[in-house]
């Protein structure tokens, strides 16, 4: 079975599909995660700072465990491990490209879901 573009099942389960809460969390996700991804991209593309890569990916992993976007969680989790072990720069680079492409493609879906809950709250 294909991984869904956007999986809000965790948020739905803890909130009882409360639209006010769903809107608030999705909005917070959209206002924090793109900057977090840019920081990770900067670290991966321009440095060999594995510790920094590990820390930034770890922070993003938390966010992508709450709102799942395609296979991003798996790629970020792998980057966390590689960063911690200070190895696999080429794999980190490839996985980050997957993350950025998946996130960009999913943005309209995430935004639409946020707006749907905004209208219902």
């Amino acid at each position: 079975m294909d991984t869904p573009v956007l999986d809000l099942s965790y948020l739905t389960s803890i909130s009882g599909n409360d639209s006010k809460y769903m809107y608030e969390v999705i909005n917070l996700f959209l206002s924090t995660v793109p900057d977090g991804l840019k920081k990770l991209e900067q670290l991966v593309k321009n440095t060999d700072d594995f510790e920094g890569i590990h820390r930034q990916a770890h922070s993003l992993k938390s966010s992508f465990s709450i709102i799942k976007v395609g296979d991003i969680f798996d790629d970020i989790a792998a980057i966390v491990i590689l960063g911690r072990e200070a190895r696999g720069k080429e794999e980190i680079d490839q996985r980050l490209d997957n993350v950025l492409a998946t996130f960009e493609a999913a943005m309209p879906v995430i935004t639409a879901e946020r707006d749907r809950h905004k209208a219902r709250k």
């Binding site: 803890i14 992993k61 966390v80």
Partner: protein
């Protein structure tokens, strides 16, 4: 379920903060947030809490360092539960060695997290 229980959460991820705030509001717990281990220590110096939820990885001061400070320097015995997104084999052991009481993994399952907190707080303060 957690009426009047006071919880200090040290967590730098705003999404996780929001999730925890929602979970604890629903069970009538009182919660305060710190963004770093240092902020958590500062808050703990100002007022007592029934329990502390401590993220392991935070800027300025991580959760293990903050816990060691709380236990060894402050001589404070407030129960501390580690909250972590990592699942590295040595993590649970490191948490217990630092003086934490338990370790839970993100994302949080609301009922089991509240049950764990209730259990730890009750055991730490049998009259509550």
């Amino acid at each position: 379920m957690l009426d009047s229980v006071t919880i200090l959460v040290a967590e730098d991820n705003l999404l996780n903060q929001r999730v925890l705030k929602f979970i604890f509001q629903r069970v009538n717990a009182s919660v305060k947030f710190a963004l770093t281990g240092k902020e958590a220590i500062d808050l703990l110096e100002q007022e007592p809490f029934d329990i502390i939820l401590m993220d392991l990885q935070m800027p300025e001061m991580d959760g293990l360092t903050a816990t060691k400070h709380i236990r060894q320097t402050m001589k404070n015995t407030t129960p501390i539960v580690a909250i972590t997104a990592g699942r590295f084999a040595d993590e649970n052991e490191l948490c217990l060695e630092a003086g934490m009481n338990a370790c839970v993994f993100k994302p949080f399952e609301a009922d089991s997290l509240c049950a764990l907190i209730k259990n730890i707080v009750s055991n730490n303060n049998p009259t509550s």
